[in-house]
Symmetry: C2
Subunit: 453 residues, 2 copies
Amino acid sequence: MAGASAGVSETLAAFVAASRWEEMPDLVRHEAKRSLLNCFATAFAGCGDEALEISLASFRDFGATGKASLIGRVERVDPLTAAFINAAAANVHDFDDTHLRTVIHPAAPIAPALLALSETRGVRGQDLLHALALGIEATCRIGNAVSPGHYARGWHITSTCGVFGAALAVGKILGLDADRLVWALGNASAQASGLVETLGFMAKSIGVGGAARGGLLAADLARRGHDGPAAPLEGIRGFLNVTGDAPAMDEVTEGLGSRWEALSNIHKPYPCGIVLNAVIDACLELRDKGLAPVESIASITLLGHPLLRQRADRPDVATGRESQVSAQHAVAITLLRGKPGLAAFTDAAVNDPATLALRGAVRLVDDPDGAVPGVRLVATLKNGTEHEVVVDHARGTDKRPLTDAELEEKFRVLVAEKSPTCGDAEKLIDAIWRLDQSEDAGALLAHARPTVN
Amino acid sequence: MAGASAGVSETLAAFVAASRWEEMPDLVRHEAKRSLLNCFATAFAGCGDEALEISLASFRDFGATGKASLIGRVERVDPLTAAFINAAAANVHDFDDTHLRTVIHPAAPIAPALLALSETRGVRGQDLLHALALGIEATCRIGNAVSPGHYARGWHITSTCGVFGAALAVGKILGLDADRLVWALGNASAQASGLVETLGFMAKSIGVGGAARGGLLAADLARRGHDGPAAPLEGIRGFLNVTGDAPAMDEVTEGLGSRWEALSNIHKPYPCGIVLNAVIDACLELRDKGLAPVESIASITLLGHPLLRQRADRPDVATGRESQVSAQHAVAITLLRGKPGLAAFTDAAVNDPATLALRGAVRLVDDPDGAVPGVRLVATLKNGTEHEVVVDHARGTDKRPLTDAELEEKFRVLVAEKSPTCGDAEKLIDAIWRLDQSEDAGALLAHARPTVN
């Protein structure tokens, strides 16, 4: 372990090099499985997205070929391309795991790099989970050091920070020592990219896919002796100073091994902005109780922290993408159709006359005392009756995380909805929960390829 | 052509889409040939560098295979990998073309992307030169918009801006319209990376190689409909605002088609910092005149603009890399050995007792009236005699560019020094000068592969 005078990069690298699976808290180890399960789930959901179809076609025409698997797809490619495509798929709907403080989706750039590696060499399940947990930890800590200015300035933090976590995670499996892990960080630093301006466009997926591919490449290069600077993170012209304003360097290293950022990495229950989780929970409760049939509703009032109104008071959205941050749409689609899946936030859903009509009945009111993630919903019926539902902690926040069973259900729904030809969903779920007992992590991918005749 | 109200990205894209080779000034067209010649020369010089050996081995082990050529090497790979490796080779010694205002080396990220493309489809020589000229122009203008703050902050500007020029250049050959060229810029923006912290390490080459590869990918994706934001350059979270402080947007678009940045893109005569060009010229003149044999020298005084002393007064350098910005070493090695090539800036040259001894006799004195790129050298002999040499405009600056013959000589020396098994240097030189008459630009690469039995 590096001493107190060691630099940030060296300290982080030494921590990763010295880390032992056995010494990691049970909760952190279990969270690695949950992130991996969620990553597979969202990759199944995204694997047929147009952005992926296009980039895969381009890579293949440029000659990508090999034995590496793509989640939910029949094609085989080389490991670098597989890392790119699987990462892009896992993140394309922004439905993957979310580190609350930084809004990083950490698993997408990391897990696919590890999975691709696990098909090229024997990787034990426990080692993949260990590396994933370390990569998530590093990514979120690097993100903490530059937050909130980094994202606010325009950096797509999942991509820019994810490449470092991927490089360290792959490097851990490759058995790199601390010095080579610093080189891996340096090789990653030359590839750290991704702009918020690209969100909402296919171009976003290049950043996320590139982070996974870049991390895998960075570590393999370091293994071969491809060197980098001594302080790729904290150097005066290194990543933290260049992309952060007065970065909090200590965030990277303080409490390494005792405080785990992975424990504030949550899993979204609904494919929309997290701020809407409580709104949807309240609507589901109202709907489940049968107190306010849609045709009887005169108005719906949402009382919440001003942040809710500032971020989500959007009565006039026109596209599926915009609807992901519209409280009006979330209320309408949930009351009409129940628990919202990917289909709830499509152009078709947004422009359905029934949702349009109900949207008009929803208004947001500030409640300065309201808890940020909570909401109070008041449904006023046409006969004058009022029903109130209060949600203090929304499903999918750190106070009320999805249970393992809820995560499994999310997995099953996404597979059924988007990747129904993958016939081994149950085997895959089971294999992920028992991955720490497996001698061959790469075998997971056999369950993730579609069954074809 | 986009109207006055069009955004920066749209205006630049429209300019590229509408540009015609026939309407380009002769000087600009000729400069494209010179940049290409210099790019081949420096790629021959760099093609065996350890960083390249390592990255090529990694790519090949990951499955890179195909028909694309590597300059000076026998291996064949896929076009994306070829773009990466050739770009990294061309830039690894920083001996490629240099845009004076931004210190961008523009050809390295662009020409290799075009050459790789030219092996996958029929590309006329004139079209490759045209695209290269446009890519250089775009790269340098984007660099102007964020200079000098961008590089000062820590961005390796050759990589970060080069990916955009490569994307536009490839897109031009692919026949993309302005809208798709904007997408190409957006796809490039997600990949723009490269940190000054990595300079001096192999990690640097990943940024430059990645820019060429990323530009080729970005344009091919755009061709296939992979969309991006409307304002990837000037958007509030776009490249210029995120990586520049108060970027000068007009620099990208003002005078497009009438003012050419390509004309201030120069070619270095010596593989060291440009600030030393005048010093070396003065030493060569002193040496050629035979006025001051080394053994007779008591002291050498360099009188120059204070910038010369601030940047290059480094009497105690210990490595080849450091010696590239040491006036003391430049004087010693030039007086001892004549015109300095790559071997003059190696660890061995720096630690040669003869250069060490002579270095101690060199001192720098400020001459506030001195021209920035010029120098006045006073050699004081042991017998008291003084000889003075004045260089107002160094060879290789925009006031005294290398002649075509000098560029050819640079090419021949680098091939002979670093890539002697490439047997067709003369054919390649000839083919580049006549490239605008060729129907098959890809044929250039047949002359760039080593002759093997």
